[in-house]
């Protein structure tokens, strides 16, 4: 097959090869045309008249969009200097990022203490990176996360080892976004498992409560849940007890995410064959041991991709805390643009923030696809 000349592709060529060559099986296979660039283009871009028109349209669109975009964002862009210079000369003003990235990344956290949120961010990212590898999926990882949380909380709050105390109202930027997303998922996960089990329970009252909660919360926009959290939680508590603004938003996100996660977990529970539960019953396992040892390990493994998707949603949804007045990455970016001098360059500011969100979300979605394949190989026999 490798050494064929082009003329061998004609039927007669193959027939001739059939007769002369002893390896008829090889020659009888349908010959592959040589895929050169031109052949590929003919196949994929100019196969038919409508296809050609589509290609030309797409090329025209690219021609209209890409060169001006490159000229604006790259060739005529500014990285240093003053805002006035950007305004005069045109082009993208990445100076905004060089000048104000610390405000965008860390919000109003005390300026000389920025190494603390920076270190905290690195700890979270390191923990996330470690958790992606299946090799590290063991109980010790949970301890690492616990230790990481203690370290991060210590770093952010401070008040010891010469680190001045910083109240949560001053926390902001990327660390806040990451903390809300990670804690939101971590806290809602156990709750969602209870809700999903409750929804599958044979006890009517428990089933009704779970269904009621899940459907109620899924019918609501997150904005209204966050408003409720920020306005009504203080009313819920006994007089004199105040609840931190950050904690309120976190509880709101947690209650919201739990309902969606519960539906993902339920999908896994429903996929486990009934025989598994019956076998566990036959072995005399109690309900909780049956769930913990037999059903949940299988069910959760099935739903890891939807859970990662939920994580992506939660990560993006943390941006809504901007509306209730917390300084997450988006709000901090907005704050950096509040200065009239920089306001005209909102596209540069938002594009930079969007790139941060995008990298996290894109990585997570690719990871979920990779994991899906990995776990599928385990299932194959």
């Amino acid at each position: 097959m490798i050494g064929f000349e082009p003329h061998d592709h004609s039927p007669t060529g193959i027939a001739a090869a059939d007769v002369e060559e002893p390896s008829a099986a090889v020659a009888a296979q349908p010959p592959k045309p040589p895929l050169k660039l031109l052949g590929w283009a003919r196949e994929n871009l100019f196969g038919s008249v409508p296809n050609t028109i589509l290609t030309l349209l797409a090329l025209w669109l690219l021609w209209e969009v890409v060169p001006p975009l490159l000229s604006w964002g790259l060739f005529h862009a500014h990285v240093t200097g003053a805002a006035a210079q950007c305004r005069e000369e045109g082009g993208a003003c990445w100076t905004l990022v060089t000048e104000r990235h610390r405000l965008m990344l860390f919000g109003v956290y005390p300026y000389d203490q920025h190494w603390r949120p920076l270190l905290a961010t690195f700890i979270v990212i390191a923990l996330l990176a470690t958790s992606t590898l299946r090799r590290f999926w063991r109980p010790a990882l949970l301890w690492a996360w616990g230790g990481g949380f203690v370290a991060i909380a210590g770093l952010m709050w401070g008040g010891f080892l010469g680190m001045p105390y910083v109240e949560t109202a001053l926390w902001g930027g990327l660390p806040l976004t990451l903390a809300l997303a990670v804690l939101g998922i971590a806290l809602s996960f156990p709750f969602s498992i209870i809700l999903a089990l409750g929804r599958r329970s044979n006890l009517p009252a428990i089933r009704a409560l779970s269904v009621g909660y899940i459907e109620l919360v899924r019918g609501l926009p997150l904005v209204s849940v966050l408003f409720m959290a920020s306005v009504m939680f203080p009313l819920f508590l006994p007089e004199g007890v105040t609840i931190d603004k950050l904690l309120r938003a976190l509880v709101g996100i947690m209650l919201f995410t739990a309902a969606y996660l519960a539906e993902a977990v339920r999908g896994g529970l429903q996929a486990i064959p009934r025989g598994q539960e019956e076998a566990a019953d036959a072995l005399g396992l109690s309900y909780w041991r049956k769930m913990r040892l037999i059903v949940l390990p299988q069910a959760l493994r099935l739903v890891i991709p939807p859970i990662v998707n939920q994580f992506i949603s939660c990560f993006k949804d943390t941006s809504l805390v901007t509306i209730v007045g917390l300084y997450d990455l988006l709000a901090a970016t907005k704050a950096a643009l509040a200065d009239p001098e920089w306001r005209p360059f909102f596209v540069e500011g938002y594009v930079s923030a969007a790139l941060v969100y995008w990298s996290f979300c894109f990585f997570m979605s690719r990871y979920s696809q990779w994991l899906e394949r990995q776990l599928a190989t385990g299932q194959r026999r």
């Binding site: 994929n44 871009l45 196969g47 209204s224 809504l320 596209v347």
Partner: protein, 391 residues
């Protein structure tokens, strides 16, 4: 159900699954009720301490704040209830238009991702991956920034005669009111009804005799033709109310406010990326053998898509599409961040003015639950129509 041994009746009560089931339920319900009572009790105490009366009486009071845009008449002298209705209508308008637009873009992009044309497929992938991995709120801020940094009315962009794009929004010419307009609408509905009848008849005949009838073209002709004939019959009154620059702003014509335009663009572009993925997975879920079988029966490409692929793909597409429509409706509440007066935004103002937080949030929750339920019911009905009928 009881596992207890006979002759061990005393012990068996606690070991009976039924008894324990009831016990658990009583305990859980008691806990939930206690928690609810505790929260309500605290709330009432707190409200009393702050001197806030509870109840929905405030809905009848004068709202006293203006609302930028409203599909129905509204003045600050109207009641809070009236203001909330305006907010609800604004939510419904943006959600309905957003759903239509997002579906349109989503279907086109979803099919483009499957296109044999390499370039088109790549561009569609770029769109989907770029848009869905960035928070909607951030996209809304960008859209709003773009719309409001357009030139002022005096330097308004004028892409087509009569259409002006400025930082006051989009101005379009509207036909001047004419007594024929209600009749035109009636003719449109009548034409649609006739088309529906033709479709039913055509399908029935096709089932009976196997002879096809081009009901789609006929129906389209009837739906559009009837109003057109009426329009021409009365002499085609084409007087338009064209927006004109007067002082610092435009007068006349119809307006699409900057907030509305930004919200609509953001919602449709964002949701369309998700819809594209749903459409793509729906089409991919139909086995390739179906296409091959249809082609080998001699059906054309278009007929294969319409008669064989789409009916099967729709079954996969409808349920997740429903949840995307619901998501779009719920996401329209992000309007509050860019100042479009939707329900959440109006309720927020109401809460800030009256202090009736519990009632205000209660109204918002009730409304969204009703919308969610209504949309789910509608889509479930449609889903039942396209679902696979098995014996």
């Amino acid at each position: 159900m009881a596992i207890g041994h006979p002759g061990n009746a005393k012990r068996s009560l606690f070991y009976s699954a039924r008894f324990r089931g009831i016990l658990y339920q009583v305990v859980v319900v008691a806990l939930v009720v206690a928690l609810g009572w505790y929260l309500v009790h605290n709330t009432l105490t707190n409200l009393a301490a702050r001197g806030i009366a509870t109840g929905f009486d405030f809905l009848g009071r004068e709202a006293g704040f203006d609302i930028g845009e409203s599909p129905i008449a509204y003045t600050p002298a109207d009641s809070y209830a009236h203001a909330l209705v305006v907010g609800l209508l604004n939510t419904l308008v943006v959600a309905a238009l957003g759903i239509a637009l997002a579906t349109l873009i989503g279907v086109v992009v979803g099919i483009a991702r499957l296109s044999g044309n390499w370039l088109v497929a790549r561009l569609a992938t770029l769109y989907v991956e770029g848009v869905r991995n960035v928070p909607l709120l951030l996209q809304l801020f960008v859209w709003y920034g773009i719309v409001t940094s357009l030139p002022g009315p005096r330097q308004a962009l004028n892409p087509l005669p009569g259409i002006f794009l400025s930082n006051r929004g989009l101005k379009v010419p509207l036909p001047e009111a004419h007594p024929i307009h209600p009749w035109l609408l009636l003719a449109l509905l009548g034409g649609f009804g006739l088309a529906w009848g033709v479709r039913r008849w055509a399908i029935a005949r096709h089932d009976r005799t196997g002879r096809p009838f081009p009901w789609m073209l006929t129906g389209l002709g009837l739906t559009l033709g009837l109003p057109l004939v009426l329009f021409l019959a009365v002499g085609a009154p084409l007087a338009m109310d064209v927006p004109t620059l007067r002082g610092f702003n435009f007068a006349g014509g119809g307006t699409l406010s900057p907030e509305f335009a930004a919200l609509l663009a953001g919602l449709s572009v964002y949701t369309a990326a998700f819809i594209a993925e749903i459409v793509r997975s729906g089409i991919l879920a139909v086995p390739a053998g179906q296409t091959e079988a249809a082609l080998s029966l001699g059906l054309s490409r278009a007929k294969t898509l319409r008669l064989v692929i789409m009916p099967q793909a729709l079954r996969v597409i409808i349920p997740p599409l429903t949840s995307q429509y619901l998501n779009l409706t719920k996401n329209s509440s992000l309007a509050v961040a860019i100042g479009y007066p939707d329900l959440v935004s109006v309720a927020n103002t109401t809460i800030n003015q009256t202090g009736h937080a519990v009632e205000g949030i209660g109204v918002v929750m009730a409304v969204f639950l009703v919308i969610s339920l209504a949309l789910s019911l509608l889509m479930n009905w449609y889903n039942a129509k396209v679902a696979l009928v098995t014996r």
